[in-house]
């Protein structure tokens, strides 16, 4: 479980996050939604320590991340898996080497055990016969799957996904969404997904947090989302005509 208490972040004079608090549950997909520029990615970067918060605290299972020194943060990060928006695979390594990479650095395993674990992770994301391909030889959806395999290789307690569906077709998006959901439940992870894709939200979210102008504007679940009268949230959720029709049909 991750507890976020009143975190704030400023870039120059611009307040990007303002006293955001959240309780991110274990074994659930915690979805953070909001418009582009609302502060979602900054929030995620603060959560994993890529950006320093100005105020507030972040606790990973009651361990205060904000008070940790560099070494302690490095150790905690071995419990974190992250799926980046562009997958962030290492160009010079093959698919298999990308997944083996964290194991080679941190896991006390023999070479064959590392390869077994990498193959298990690749099979888990339904990637077979791609071990020796390089990232520029595979599709966007495959890259995301390799990134998920790499993220779960170390058996992390926490999984962070930054817009996992960006740049993917609807079918592949659903595959990636389902994979995130399944893995979260299977490995009992605390998963945080940043997204503005309403299909994903309706598909896999357990808890939903809406960030608006750098503040946590609303929180709830899928059912709450359909019945909310929060104006800013409704403007965001029902921006597309598809969702408008969906709401109309729900009201009927």
């Amino acid at each position: 479980m991750i507890e976020v208490a009143n975190i704030s972040k400023k870039f120059g004079d611009r307040q990007v996050l303002s006293e955001v608090s959240m309780y991110l549950e274990t074994g659930k997909v915690n979805m953070v939604i909001g418009q582009s520029g609302a502060g979602k990615s900054v929030f995620l970067k603060c959560l994993v320590g890529l950006l320093q918060t100005d105020l507030g605290e972040i606790h990973y299972d009651r361990r205060n991340f904000t008070e940790m020194n560099y070494q302690q943060k490095k150790e905690l990060r071995q419990e974190i898996g992250m799926l980046f928006q562009g997958a962030a695979l290492f160009d010079s390594l093959t698919v298999e080497q990308n997944v083996v990479f964290p194991l080679e650095l941190f896991a006390k395993m023999s070479k064959s055990e590392r390869l077994d674990r990498a193959n298990f992770c690749l099979q888990r994301v339904n990637l077979i016969n791609a071990n020796n391909l390089y990232p520029d030889e595979i599709s966007g959806g495959m890259k995301k799957r390799v990134a998920i395999a790499r993220a779960i290789a170390m058996n992390p307690k926490y999984l962070f996904c930054d817009e996992p569906n960006s740049g993917l077709d609807p079918q592949t998006s659903i595959v990636i969404d389902n994979l995130i959901k399944e893995i979260t439940q299977e490995f009992n992870m605390t998963t945080v997904v940043i997204s503005h894709d309403m299909n994903s939200v309706m598909e896999i979210s357990d808890n939903i947090f809406f960030i608006y102008s750098g503040q946590k504007w609303w929180e709830g679940n899928k059912q709450d989302l359909l019945t909310t009268d929060n104006k800013e949230l409704c403007d965001f959720v029902y921006a597309s005509s598809f969702m408008k029709e969906f709401k109309k049909s729900q009201n009927r």
Binding site: R77, Q78, A88, L89, D91, F106
Partner: protein, 256 residues
């Protein structure tokens, strides 16, 4: 409080220096796994050293040849001893052309490649991915480049010296600017072994500058493809300026 004018420029310069030394401090720590460090070190030796061998060889042979022809052209005075062209070619190659000019050429080839590689890794979030995994990206990415550069570039410079002097011999043979025998006598005349030491010290320092300055600019690239290109240009410009400055300092220190 905002800083304007001349102060802003000074502030920016000091900030850059501070960040550069901060990077070096974080880079020179014990690698997480020595086995992985050595693997990356040998990869870098190949990228920085072996892949540059051809260009170094071609440039050195032609530089040596040109120095000899120009020396022969200028030393037409009968008061100048017959072996002077050989001495001039040897000493020019050893003292300046091999360590300095080859290092400047390597800034263009190796420095820009290091900056683009790290810059691309930065903008495609690969460096963030390393950090999230608990890897120290500066130590993992930059240290093997600096160590490999300082190790292999002096070897390239020694090869360049030999090939430069050989280039002079080829020029004497093919153009008839001077007789090959006179050239051979000249390159052996009054040889100072200390010049080799001087050249090696210079090349090691220049290797450190070109790898670390290029890594610094690549590592701190922000934005997209345009910024990666800019960081690569900055890497070449600042490395060149630093090498030229340290060339002066080292020459004054070591040849006085």
């Amino acid at each position: 409080m905002p800083i304007f004018g001349k102060n802003a420029v000074m502030f920016k310069i000091f900030k850059q220096f501070g960040e550069y030394f901060f990077m070096l401090r974080k880079t020179f720590t014990r690698p997480q796994k020595m086995k992985i460090f050595f693997r990356r070190f040998f990869d870098e030796v190949e990228a920085i050293g072996l892949d540059s061998l051809a260009i170094v060889a071609i440039l050195s042979v032609f530089m040596g040849a040109v120095i000899l022809i120009q020396s022969a052209y200028n030393f037409s005075n009968p008061l100048i001893p017959a072996y002077a062209e050989g001495v001039a070619t040897r000493d020019s190659m050893l003292l300046e052309f091999s360590p300095t000019i080859i290092s400047l050429i390597l800034v263009g080839k190796v420095g820009s490649s290091i900056a683009s590689e790290l810059g691309t890794m930065r903008v495609t979030e690969q460096i963030d991915a390393l950090e999230i995994m608990g890897v120290d990206p500066m130590n993992y990415l930059v240290l093997p480049k600096i160590v490999a550069g300082v190790f292999i570039i002096p070897f390239l410079i020694v090869i360049s010296m030999f090939l430069g002097v050989y280039g002079g011999y080829l020029a004497s043979l093919l153009t008839g600017a001077i007789s090959p025998g006179r050239y051979i006598y000249g390159i052996q005349y009054d040889f100072v072994p200390y010049y080799i030491f001087y050249a090696l010290v210079k090349s090691a320092v220049f290797a450190f500058i070109l790898t670390s300055v290029s890594s610094f600019h690549g590592y701190h690239a922000q934005g997209g493809a345009l910024e990666v290109g800019k960081s690569s240009t900055k890497a070449v410009v600042y490395s060149t300026i630093a090498i030229i400055f340290f060339n002066l300092v080292l020459t004054k220190l070591l040849l006085n």
